[in-house]
């Protein structure tokens, strides 16, 4: 059984970090999807 000290602080620190990165990544990808559809495919040089 794992027993950590400062569990609340660890959960907050790691939890907030992963949530922030996850939310930012999701927002960027979703916005990219919606805007990429508005330009011609030949302008999307990466796909």
């Amino acid at each position: 059984m794992l027993a950590f000290t400062h569990v609340g602080f660890l959960a907050a620190g790691w939890g907030i970090s992963l949530a922030v990165f996850g939310a930012y990544a999701l927002r960027t990808v979703r916005r990219g999807r919606s805007l990429a559809a508005q330009i011609p495919p030949e302008a999307r040089r990466w796909s």
Partner: protein, 257 residues
Amino acid sequence: MTTPPDVASGRATTGSPGTRVLGGLTLAGLALLLGYSFLWSPADIAQQDAVRLMYVHVPTSIVAFTACFITTFASAMWLRRKSDGWWVLGAASAEVAVVFTGVCLLTGSIWGRITWGTYWDWDPRITSTTMLFILLIGYLALRRIDSEAGDPAQRGARSAIVGLLLFPNVMIVHFSVDWWRSLHQTATITRLDPTIEGTMLFTLMLGIVVFSMLFVWLLIHRFRLSWIEERLGSTGLDAAIGERRAEAGVPAMGGTV
């Protein structure tokens, strides 16, 4: 309303085969990092398990500083070449730097509450990092504010000059612990003989690699998104100017504005 065919087929994205591979490797790396951070690395004698915050706090700070360097470099290159690529890279890197700097400040604040008994102190490193965070937001805000003359080049030059200030500010953050009395310790991992236990050092290095991969993945996606936004913005501006000229009965100009 119909869905555009590219969206329906899932092809219209900022992703590419390379970013999909990098994304997968980053997720696997994050899982490994969580394992090392919470299961396989020992607790510290003095800090106990609070040391596990180091594996997210230190890597995010290093990546944030790297992102600031990229924005400063891109700003200098834009001032020299005035090309869209450098303009877009500067913005993309600055926005990702805001996220990493914000996470660094948050995790540092939580770690500070455990080790120093306070979430905030006017410590030189905390204060200079906060200044960096504000400077990054200012840089991004300046890019969105039109100059009085509506001249995009003037707007670009103004924000690029602020972009040039970012990396010198990073140097202040880095050396602040040596220049002034600070709650932060001096350099631990940049010296040739780091005073940190083997598994802890490995976990820290793994954290730096994984968060660097995350940064590259985010930067590529943000760069492509900014590229699309610039294209749509200039297309929209052309269309608006065309409409105004048509209203005024002025013949359309050749080429793009």
